[in-house]
């Protein structure tokens, strides 16, 4: 094919954000072409089959942050999206019965009471307080980041943020500052006394970050995870029926129905520019496409340094993108199981296995896992977040068999010996995870039919996640809001005219949220760039 068809927009990368952006633009009548390097769509939101009949949600494994307005606007239910809520959060223990937190407060109260009566009483209050803060933050997730450094042009946005901040009142404002700057443990210490309750709760503060539960600013990440909603129900996480890839399939189907053209196995090599303005792309196989705007759904470093080229950008911008930090900290182990794992603290098949299962026995355990990673080694006893989707979704495993997904932290991209050392340490890492799990569910080892180990290096190579960072760059305070990916370029536009960013490297950042894709599309349309 030669450059005969001219598109309104070319989207580079078929991850969930690229697909969302394509669907919105196509829905507005624009001629859209989406290009995906791999053979399947979804980026890190994919379902893969490595052993016949066993479907892994290879990377992203639960959904909660996907914006309800996107589900509604794109009619994703009509396109096959079906979400099964997680039944509970289970924290197994080596001594004692462990802890299960249910959506039902009375049941959770009984569980927590075994650890501390006072904590049990305060638990619902905590949820409410976080919900209130979530209500404050949530609108920020569906609008471009207000930029206080761009006064007076953006005065209106900044003033309205300020007004909302003041409305919180003194105590609310103090809580807000604490949430943005404190550690997850500091925050939880104010509410609870039981280590066994605090540890699994604190985990939400470290997922995807290279920080420990005692590191300042992790309270915000914890809140971020409290903001998940399904059908307006707070904190409800769920699986997509058919695996996480089903979400991408649904969005892709919505995009196609609106007229977007989608090509797989179409790896972009270059984003071409003319006089500082993007004009199209060249694929690795030589095909060329032109468009009025090029939108990258890849992370900033890949976009600017691999596709555009440093020579097209001014030195200051190159410096800013160079120091934009990635530092992946997590890995993934997917297991195909011959039988259901049996947790010795709560034996047998029960509803407690239908939620997420956190290996997080104590705050100290989590902090030590972080300490090892800080000094360049994967955690010998890591934090693990497990799910067994085959229990609630029979489509992902053959009858009687199961798939188990283990999200593992910490697995630092930068090992002391360098990232390339992951090729030698991959299996040792997988063994560590299995051995850790074996302590909680003896016999698990013998039930494993197949094991997929994804190190941060694999996440980079296979899924294009630079340095294995699942959020396209750390969700640290200095890389959020009007500073994501860099101050002055946080509104999806870039210094290259007609080149836009629509993925997690832009506000509001990572997670299976879809917000950057939707916001980028909205800006393009509303401000008549397209």
């Amino acid at each position: 094919m030669t450059a005969t068809t001219r598109y309104d927009a070319i989207i580079v990368g078929g991850g969930h954000n690229g697909l969302v952006c394509a669907a919105y633009l196509a829905g507005a009548g624009r001629k859209v072409l989406l290009l995906e390097r791999r053979h399947l769509l979804g980026g890190a939101a994919v379902t893969e089959e490595h052993l016949a009949g066993f479907k892994y949600s290879a990377c992203s494994y639960v959904v909660s942050l996907l914006r309800p307005e996107i589900i509604h606007d794109l009619e994703l239910a009509k396109h096959g999206l079906s979400i099964i809520p997680l039944a509970c959060s289970f924290t197994p223990d080596l001594s004692g019965p462990g802890l299960v937190r249910w959506p039902d407060f009375a049941r959770t109260h009984d569980e927590i009471s075994r650890l501390s009566r006072r904590d049990a009483d305060r638990y619902p209050e905590f949820g409410k307080a976080m919900g209130k803060m979530g209500d404050f933050i949530r609108p920020l997730l569906m609008q471009p980041a207000p930029d206080p450094t761009r006064l007076p042009r953006r005065l209106g946005e900044s003033l309205s943020l300020l007004r909302r901040l003041r409305k919180l009142g003194p105590r609310g404002l103090a809580q807000f500052v604490q949430l943005m700057t404190q550690s997850a443990v500091d925050l939880l210490d104010r509410w609870f006394e039981s280590d066994r309750l605090k540890a699994p709760m604190a985990c939400s503060g470290i997922i995807g970050t290279f920080l420990g539960v005692r590191s300042p600013t992790t309270a915000y990440v914890l809140l971020h995870h409290y903001m998940g909603e399904i059908d307006g129900a707070y904190r409800a996480w769920g699986f997509a029926r058919g695996g996480t890839g089903a979400i991408s399939e649904a969005i892709a189907s919505a995009a196609r129905a609106r007229g977007a053209e989608i090509l797989c196995e179409a790896a972009v090599e270059k984003i071409t520019t003319r006089r500082g303005s993007a004009r199209g792309v060249v694929l690795e196989d030589g095909r060329e496409f032109e468009a009025r705007v090029v939108i990258s759904a890849c992370d900033p470093r890949r976009t600017f340094f691999s596709f555009v080229g440093r020579d097209q950008l001014d030195d200051d911008f190159v410096a800013q993108i160079t120091r934009y930090r990635y530092r992946g900290s997590s890995g993934k182990v997917n297991l195909a199981l011959d039988r259901l794992p049996d947790f010795s603290c709560r034996p047998g098949r029960g509803l407690h296995l239908q939620g997420d299962i956190a290996i997080a026995p104590s705050i100290d355990y989590l902090e030590r896992a972080y300490d090892e990673a800080k000094h360049g080694a994967f955690s010998r006893r890591p934090y693990i977040n497990l799910v067994i989707p085959s229990l609630t979704d029979p489509t992902v495993a053959p009858p009687g068999k199961h798939v188990m997904s283990a999200f593992v932290q910490y697995a630092p991209y930068q090992l002391a010996e360098g990232p390339a050392a992951w090729d030698q340490q991959r299996e040792a890492f997988g063994d560590t995870v299995v051995e850790t799990l074996e302590e909680y569910c003896p016999g698990l080892k013998d039930a494993i039919l197949h094991r997929q180990v994804l190190t941060p290096l694999d996440l980079e190579r296979e899924y294009g996640l630079t340095e294995g960072n699942i959020f396209h760059g750390e969700l640290s305070l200095e890389q959020l809001l009007f500073m994501r990916p860099t101050m002055g370029w946080a509104r999806y536009q870039t210094p290259i005219q007609n080149l836009w960013l629509c993925a997690s490297g832009a506000h509001p950042g990572g997670g299976l949220m879809g917000a950057p894709g939707a916001l980028c599309a909205r800006r393009l349309l509303e401000e008549h760039y397209l």
């Binding site: 450094t149 006064l151 901040l165 003041r166 009142g169 003194p170 105590r171 404002l173 103090a174 500052v177 604490q178 943005m180 700057t181 404190q182 500091d186 210490d189 104010r190 920080l211 005692r214 590191s215 300042p216 600013t217 200051d316 120091r323 930090r325 100290d364 902090e367 030590r368 300490d371 800080k374 000094h375 640290s476 305070l477 200095e478 500073m483 860099t486 101050m487 002055g488």
Partner: protein, 494 residues
């Protein structure tokens, strides 16, 4: 009936009391310890030798503060020695002993510090803006901060906003190659903090430390000496060796204090410079304070992890060129510093990774009685857990070992030694956890959050009671700024 009772005769208390006396108020100071000076007071190490038990240097001593108490002092900028021959010379705005790239990067850093200085001082020299207040005064104050921020220009503002929440290690790794330089800067920036270089928000500590040190350093005893002289000049009444046991109220207005010996001092206002939790939770009957505020204060973090060690040496510590050292910060690299923090965090002993900072004083500093000839070295040892008994002898030996890198014959010159653990500091100075600054200077405990959002203006939520200790803004540098700003608040209310 007098006008004001000031609780605590440390640098903040003496500053506030002197300012109030100069304004014509009848002031009385009550100090629990037998001597004036709080943590800056000198106490004998051994026969004839004295050194402060707590703080030995103050930074950010600003001309307006000196004017306010009517004293003259000229802050100096001594060279800061690190490991491996690295020397930071802020007076010359350069670093020695590193390669030219690092040297140039250091000049850029000093340039950034110079650029952000005016914004810092706009924030530090004034009471914090109350974010929920309305009215033209607070609007005006906010606008002035906004203008100072704008005057930085885009690049410096970007650097500052980006650096503020960052881990110091990332900030340093982006700029420098030299491990010794990075170790030195981190040790210096974090010497009173319970945080590692990889903890977010610590880059701000380095920027603040450099801004403060650029304003010069004054030995704590020298500042104290002048303050005491100024207090005497104004015939300030000071009562030492007696504790305040309660602040009294009539309805909702402070009426004075009751002392531990049962005596009452009637006063129109009370200005407390002790730890904010002590002032608000211990000295005041609970019925006067909202329960929510007491709850919030309970969560105030002031866990210390820095211990002190003082040495008396017959021969001074010397640098490579044979000149006596003045200030030094010893940490070979960031990972060593981080491991020290890890151990402190897990409450283990930190003998393998010692992070030391210190200053050597000669006889002019007033550290010895007449007729004695020696040098005193005051040291901070970072990340020594407080709630576990550290083997004191092992720690002393480890420090000597560490210092022998500077002076191989240290053991022969050592005449006397005094170790003060975190617990001893906490006990001796009512620090409630042992943190030197009455509360960790983390982002959530600074500015309008210090010590709590509703009393950051130096006014407790009870009429006539003021908070002017380091638990109030700015709380940094041991320079008396909190006391001075509290005194100003009190004078403004009259």
């Amino acid at each position: 009936m007098i006008d004001v009772v000031v609780i605590g005769a440390g640098i903040n208390g003496l500053t506030a009391a002197t300012m109030l006396a100069r304004a014509g108020l009848a002031v009385e100071v009550v100090e629990a310890r037998p001597v004036l000076g709080g943590m800056a007071a000198r106490e004998p190490i051994a026969d004839g030798y004295l050194a402060p038990v707590g703080i030995y240097e103050t930074t950010g001593v600003r001309p307006w503060m000196l004017n306010a108490v009517g004293i003259a002092l000229s802050p100096e900028l001594p060279r800061l020695h690190g490991s491996g021959g690295v020397v930071v010379d802020l007076a010359q705005r350069r670093v020695e002993g590193v390669d030219p790239t690092d040297a140039a990067a250091f000049e850029d850093l000093v340039e950034l510090v110079t650029r952000i200085g005016p914004l810092f001082w706009r924030l530090m020299d004034h009471p914090p803006i109350d974010p929920v207040a309305s009215g033209w005064r607070s609007l005006w104050a906010a606008a002035r901060v906004g203008l100072s921020a704008r005057r930085l220009g885009f690049e410096a503002l970007r650097e500052l906003l980006r650096a503020a929440p960052m881990p110091l290690a990332d900030f340093l790794d982006e700029r420098f190659e030299s491990n010794a330089l990075k170790g030195l800067l981190a040790a210096e920036a974090l010497k009173y903090r319970f945080a590692g270089a990889k903890s977010p928000t610590t880059a701000l500590d380095l920027l603040a430390a450099l801004v403060y040190q650029s304003a010069g350093i004054v030995p704590a005893c020298r500042l104290l000496e002048r303050l005491v002289a100024a207090a005497k000049h104004h015939e300030l009444r000071v009562r030492c060796g007696v504790r305040v046991s309660s602040v009294n109220f009539d309805g909702s207005r402070a009426t004075g204090v009751t002392l531990s010996d049962g005596m009452r001092i009637e006063a129109r206002s009370v200005l407390s410079t002790v730890h904010p939790r002590q002032t608000l939770c211990e000295l005041i009957s609970p019925r006067y304070l909202p329960a929510a505020l007491r709850d919030d204060l309970r969560a105030w973090r002031s866990q210390g992890s820095t211990a002190r060690l003082d040495l008396v040496l017959a021969q001074p510590l010397r640098d490579n060129a044979g000149r006596p050292l003045s200030r030094f910060a010893l940490s070979d690299n960031l990972s060593e510093l981080e491991r020290a923090y890890d151990q402190g965090k897990h409450r283990q002993s930190t003998l393998e990774q010692l992070v030391l900072t210190g200053q050597q004083f000669d006889l002019d500093g007033g550290f010895a009685d007449r007729g004695h000839d020696a040098h005193v070295v005051c040291l901070t040892v970072q990340h020594v857990p407080s709630d576990r008994v550290v083997d004191e002898n092992a720690l002393r030996a480890a420090v000597r070992q560490r210092l022998s890198a500077i002076d191989a014959n240290l053991a022969q010159h050592l005449r006397a030694e005094r170790f003060t653990s975190v617990a001893a500091l906490a006990q001796g100075f009512a620090l409630d956890g042992g943190q030197f600054e009455h509360g960790e200077l983390s982002l959530d405990q600074q500015y309008f959050m210090r010590p709590q959002i509703r009393c950051a203006s130096y006014r407790a939520p009870l009429r006539g009671l003021y908070l002017g200790g380091n638990g109030s803004h700015p709380g940094r540098g041991f320079n008396g700024a909190a006391g001075a700003l509290a005194a100003n608040a009190m004078l403004a209310d009259r």
